[in-house]
Amino acid sequence: MPEAANILELRDISVKYGAIRAINNVSFSVKRGEILTLIGCNGAGKTTTLRAISSMVRVSGDVTFNGSSTAGERPETLVRRGLCHCPEGRGIFANMSVEENLSLGAFTRNDRDAIESDRQRVFTLFPRIKERLKQNAGTLSGGEQQMLAIGRALLSRPQLLLLDEPSLGLAPQLVQTIFRIIREINQQGVSILLVEQNAHMALQVAHTAVVLETGGVAMQGPASDLARSDAVRKAYLGH
């Protein structure tokens, strides 16, 4: 299969929850190797867009991942194709050990040596996780849980990582760390679609940004341009 320039393309996708249209005709694409951030107010449809991409909700319109459609795929088959969704609220398995959490990240794989090298890569990114391997994941602090969630997602060896609010509920200093690591992961060749409330930080790390408003795309363009745009600054950056 020839490598498509865009790892992900959305064309006019809509999602309905019953009679409510959560997102309406959203179109954008993620270039291979970039960080794209999806920002917007509460209820703008950011999380729904991620769920639509990973086939967790029924979607109308075209989602193309890595050159082929995701229609009829299930979240678990998409993981095998290299799309990993790191859900909002961390979603770690609290009563299982950190080790078991990581091994579930590699659930779809059985290439022993490659898993081990990916695991070492996760430990380099998050030395904290290595110290806590035998501990129950529920006993980790919020920041450590977020690191575990990202590390676990990396173990599925994704080509595209969907991150849903990784800064949720974290202290400002930890947010800095998480974003630095997100950039590192990206530099190692993983494309990232980042959903964030913290528009300021998100626009700093991302290459491209898409602004969602009431279920539709309001603006899109290079992140640096959007950070300078008056409308975005008023609406999301507060100055």
């Binding site: 678990e76 770690i92 009563n95 078991e100 898993i115 501990q135 006993t139 599925s156």
Partner: protein, 460 residues
């Protein structure tokens, strides 16, 4: 070095290796357990407590099997007795009608060893017993098929809604069993029945299915207990087990990790149903009259109590709760059986205490839980004494209130240990070298929680 890659073998084990580790060793262990129970423990117990021992084994199988669905996977099923009854009626049908057709005689004496009732003049492995094993396997298969059917709605339902579906399943089985034909006691009469008449099988209807040969002695029952426990343990530590646990923890995250939750939920139901079917088939051969109410919710609730009390997800916890509660319901019948065995109870206390002392001496942290276990026989004895004095003094027989005592104990345990006795932890995880007290490291909260975990054994 790392446990994660240990889970994936460096090279595929050969067929001989897998067979040895997965079949030969556990089979030998199971035979060992059965032999020990039959020839070591049985003679000490005497006839009455031997029959209790058989019922205890069946309760353990039920608890461990339900734990796969309710414990590992976190799907609340309250129709487990339905699978149990399916296994029981099929197992009974095969060995009763099989014996009737082959030998024109379904009594246990002729074709197997009714060891529960008579230890002296009997032999193992009579042809009738193999008929029972065949029936148990068939019962397990049919129960598994029903497990698949019941598992399917669990894809869309969870929590209370799934509970109602499974409850409905148990009741359907109960009502269908009530509608079966009266039992046939004569081989010739059975042969004359047309195929059309056998569409509704003669399983006794509302009056029950009786005269089933009593082949389920301690040997067979505890052999299967060992097999079931081993099987459940292997499921728990396999990748299937991790997938089941991840569904229990967080369905969305499990899907995001690539776990096909549909497949694994149904798998959990099928496995649990098959094991319950085996338990049912053995129950049918343990001297009971099968009745449609065996599929009813009373028995399902008993299973749930074992699992919740022992710890959702802990195989050893659920098994231990099943043992303790089954014995307790018997012991609470009156002080006499307890007081008659006071020497045995004291010896048991002494032996376990000595084991605890040795564990402490060699620096094994398991001594605390061992000591707790030593208190159990002692408190049973004290309970018996107290109840005898109470009865002598007031004339009120406490045995009449035994279900109140039972319920009170459940309430106390759930208040003291809301996650069940063991939570997700297995009992052997309490043993091991004593852990050194770590100096507090940063951040203190997480490391303190970890240090507290082994003694408390509680997982949040």
């Amino acid at each position: 070095m790392s446990a994660l890659t240990d889970l994936i073998p460096a090279h595929r084990p050969s067929l001989a290796q897998s067979l040895f580790a997965g079949v030969v060793v556990p089979s030998l262990c199971a035979i060992g357990v059965g032999t020990l129970m039959q020839f070591g423990v049985g003679p000490v117990l005497g006839d009455y407590w031997t029959s209790v021992g058989v019922q205890v084994g069946i309760a353990v199988m039920l608890a461990v099997s339900l734990n796969i669905v309710n414990g590992f996977t976190g799907q609340f099923s309250i129709g487990h007795a339905g699978f149990f009854a399916i296994g029981a009626y099929i197992g009974a049908g095969v060995s009763y009608y099989g014996a009737l057709l082959i030998w024109n005689d379904a009594s246990a004496m002729a074709h197997g060893a009714p060891l529960v009732w008579n230890n002296s003049k009997s032999w193992l492995f009579g042809a009738g017993e193999w008929l029972m094993i065949g029936g148990a396997i068939l019962g397990a298969c049919v129960a598994a098929a029903f497990g698949y059917i019941v598992g399917l709605p669990s894809l869309r339902l969870r929590g209370d809604y799934l509970a109602i579906v499974t409850l409905g399943f148990g009741e359907i089985v109960r009502v269908l069993l009530q509608q079966t034909r009266p039992q046939v006691f004569d081989g010739a009469e059975l042969r004359e029945m047309s195929a059309g008449e056998l569409v509704i099988p003669p399983l006794g209807g509302a009056t029950g299915f009786s005269s089933i040969p009593k082949y389920a002695n301690l040997w067979w029952v505890w052999l299967f207990v060992a097999v079931v426990v081993f099987f459940a343990y292997r499921v728990k530590v396999s990748s299937t087990g991790r997938a089941l646990l991840s569904i229990r923890e967080d369905e969305i995250a499990a899907r995001a990790m690539g776990v096909n939750i549909t497949k694994y939920k149904v798998r959990a139901f099928v496995l649990a149903a098959a094991l319950a079917g085996i338990a049912g088939a053995l129950y049918a051969h343990s001297g009971n009259v099968l009745q449609p109410r065996d599929a009813g919710f009373q028995r399902s609730f008993d299973c749930i109590i074992f699992v919740v009390l022992g710890g959702l997800g802990s195989i050893s916890g659920a098994a231990l709760a099943a043992v303790a509660l089954s014995i307790m319901t018997e012991a609470l019948r009156g002080p006499e059986p307890i007081l008659e065995n006071w020497i045995a109870l004291l010896i048991l206390t002494a032996v376990i205490s000595i084991v605890a002392a040795i564990l402490r001496a060699v620096g094994n942290r398991g001594w605390r839980i061992t000591l707790l276990m030593a208190v159990t026989p002692l408190s049973i004895l004290l309970l018996g004494l107290a109840s005898k004095f109470f009865t002598d003094a007031t004339g009120i027989n406490l045995a009449d209130y035994r279900m109140v005592v039972y319920a009170l104990l459940l309430i106390v345990v759930m208040l003291v240990r809301p996650n069940g006795l063991f939570g997700l932890t297995e009992i052997w995880e309490y043993f091991g070298p004593e852990r050194a007290k770590k100096p507090p490291t940063t951040p203190p909260t997480a490391s303190q929680a970890a240090a507290a975990a082994p003694t408390e054994g509680s997982r949040p």
